[in-house]
Every structure is written in structure tokens, then in C-alpha cells.
Symmetry: C2
Subunit: 187 residues, 2 copies
Amino acid sequence: MARESKESRHDRLRQALNEDLFLTDSELARLLGVSIQTVRLDRMEIGIPELRERTRQVAAERLRQVRAISGAEIVGELTHLVLGREGSSSLRITDDMLFTKRAIARGHYLFSQANSLAIAIVDAPVALTGLARVRYRRPVTRGEQVDARAEVLRVVGSRHLIRVVSQVNEDVVFSAKFYIVAKDDAG
Amino acid sequence: MARESKESRHDRLRQALNEDLFLTDSELARLLGVSIQTVRLDRMEIGIPELRERTRQVAAERLRQVRAISGAEIVGELTHLVLGREGSSSLRITDDMLFTKRAIARGHYLFSQANSLAIAIVDAPVALTGLARVRYRRPVTRGEQVDARAEVLRVVGSRHLIRVVSQVNEDVVFSAKFYIVAKDDAG
DNA sequence: AGTTAATTAGTACGTGCTACCAATGAGCAG
DNA sequence: CTGCTCATTGGTAGCACGTACTAATTAACT
């Protein structure tokens, strides 16, 4: 019986850590059927840090993301804003926004960008979406930057009608009309 | 000069860790101006685990989230599905879906749940949202479970008209109509 | 058989702790 | 002042999970 190739063991190592980040070298050794030293040599070769460092990196990344999300009620980056009138934001499509099988962004990212921009424009303590009409013009793919521009069309009492148009370069990829209801803080 | 109260030191400890999770006991000791033993006694008293355990917990939480997102093309949990006909999913509103200031879920979570459910129903390699009409009936708050039911209303060629109604208990909180365009793999 | 790459064994050391125990100091009641 | 108590500090032993290094063993192949 030929010995397993190093490459295939490396694959199994990566696979195992992919399923469970918190495996110690000794657990990996048992799992792969090799000595602990081999596991360590393997990790060195493919540049996988030790358990504690892996854990640390994941935790740090998570903290970064949590901060980004709780800091941003807005999906995308706000580039321009006149309260009660207009605004714009841009969003770069990254891998985690794609359908896994295809390099096409899931629709709700475009919706979220537009919706959060529309809400940001309404000058009120709390604004809720009441109704939306949405049109997806063409798929958006990895790496593209989506620029959304929003303007207030009409205001009736607490109800704002806002139109958002999202473009990649000069290409309209998405458009929507939102009815946003502003509520005072007591609401 | 009166010695600082233990309580206020505990506050400073919590504060310090809030700003930087990755402080070792010895760094904390320097920061708080006490010995390392005192830091450890303090941690015991207020139930803060050691650096590695804190890190581990944060990392573990992140993995839970990443899985929830990448494992599911569906937002929410799919509870029922008949391809080409109907389906349902449920989504529990957690803290990270809320506006920070208020316990109200952001609209795009409801949209995402409904949209992903609608796409799941269409029996095609790739399905894209072409158009959506969305109505938010009432705000949804922390801890509520949103059950979305979707049914195909009409199919014309590759275009599917799908209605989704989302309820909390018997209460309709959201409804939408989606035009979903099915594409074959070559598209 | 000789050479080479791969694997295993083993030791010393490092970090960041827990779990202890003993010593010191500060505040206060009797 | 004495005795008591709580808070703080110092120090040691041990543990988990490593790194870094050296040396021995095994397998594979010309």
C-alpha cells in the first residue's frame, strides 16, 4: 500500500480545519493518522498558524465586522447627503455578496443599499419602509462598484416618496421607488 | 489619598476590555496600576474569563454567523418547499438585525427573507429578481419569529410571479410580489 | 548499497493562564 | 494599642498548546 502523498494529506488538513477551526495539533495528528511533528511541519509548509493564532485572527476579524455593521446603518458608503432632498452611496460587490455558484450578486444587497440610502435621507428620528417598487435591470458581478443616487420626489405628511437609481459606471442596474414613513421618537 | 474603590476599578477593567478584548492580565495590571494577582482576583469576581477563552468565544460566535450566511442562500430557515409551486421559511429577529437605537428590525431583513424564498421556489439553475413590489405592514421587533409563505401565482415563459406573505403569529407584517426570471446555466 | 525526502521522537523554552499559600498593609471596633 | 478583617501582593507548581531545534528512523528510488 503506497503511502499517501503529502499533497493529499495537506488537503485533508485544510479540510479538517475548515470544518473545525479549534482543532489542536494533537487532535489533527489523530485525525490524519500521523505524528504531531508531521502536523506541525505540514502547518508550517502551507502557512497555517497555530490554534491560538487562528482563533485570534478570526475573533479580530469578527470584531472588525461587528463594528463596521453597528457603525453603519447604511449598506454601502455614503458619499453625499442632503437631508430631506437627496443622497448617494457606493457599494463594491465582494465575494461574500455573491451566489456561491455564480459570480452574480444577490439581489437583496442592491435592495439593502437603496433602502438604507432612502431611509437615511428622511430627516426623522425613525423612518420605516412602507412600500417599495423595485426593478432589477441587469445582474451585477464581482468587483463592480454600484453607485446609488436617491432623490425625494414627494412628501405628504410623514410619507416620503423616494426614487433610487443604482448604476455601474453609466449602466443602470437597479431602480426603485420607496415610500418611507417617518415616525417621531414616541411612535 | 483614599484608595480607589474596588467597584470603580472593576468598571475600569470592564471598560478596558471593552475597548480591547486582547489585553493580557499583565497588560491590564499595568493599565489599572495594580498587581497581576489583583487583576486575576477581579476577573474572577466579575466572571470575566481569561484572554484565550474570551478570544475563543468571539471566534466561535463569528463562525456561527458565517455559516448562517454562506450555508444558506436562504435568509431564514426553510421549512417547506415544493419546487415551482410554494414554500415557506421562518426567521427569528436577533439583535444584529435591529436599528441600534430602536428594537425594530431593518426592513431589508424581511425583504431578504422573502426574496430568497421566492428565488428558492423557482426551479432553475439561476434565478434573478426582475421586479418587486413590497409592502411593510407593521414593524417587527426583537425576538419575534417571522414566518414567510410564498406561492407561485403565474408563470410566463421564464418569468415567475410569486407572492410572499410574512406573518408574526397571525399578524401580517410584510407582503411582496416578485417577478423572478429563471435563467439556464449558460445565461 | 547509497542517497534523499519524509516522518517520528524528544528536549528546551515561551506564553498566559489556574490553583494555591503565605506575607503585608490598611481600616476599624473594642 | 490590640486584635480582627478585607484587600492586595508575592511567589510557586502545574497545565495547555504551542515554537525551535536536534537526532534517529523509515520508505522509496536510482
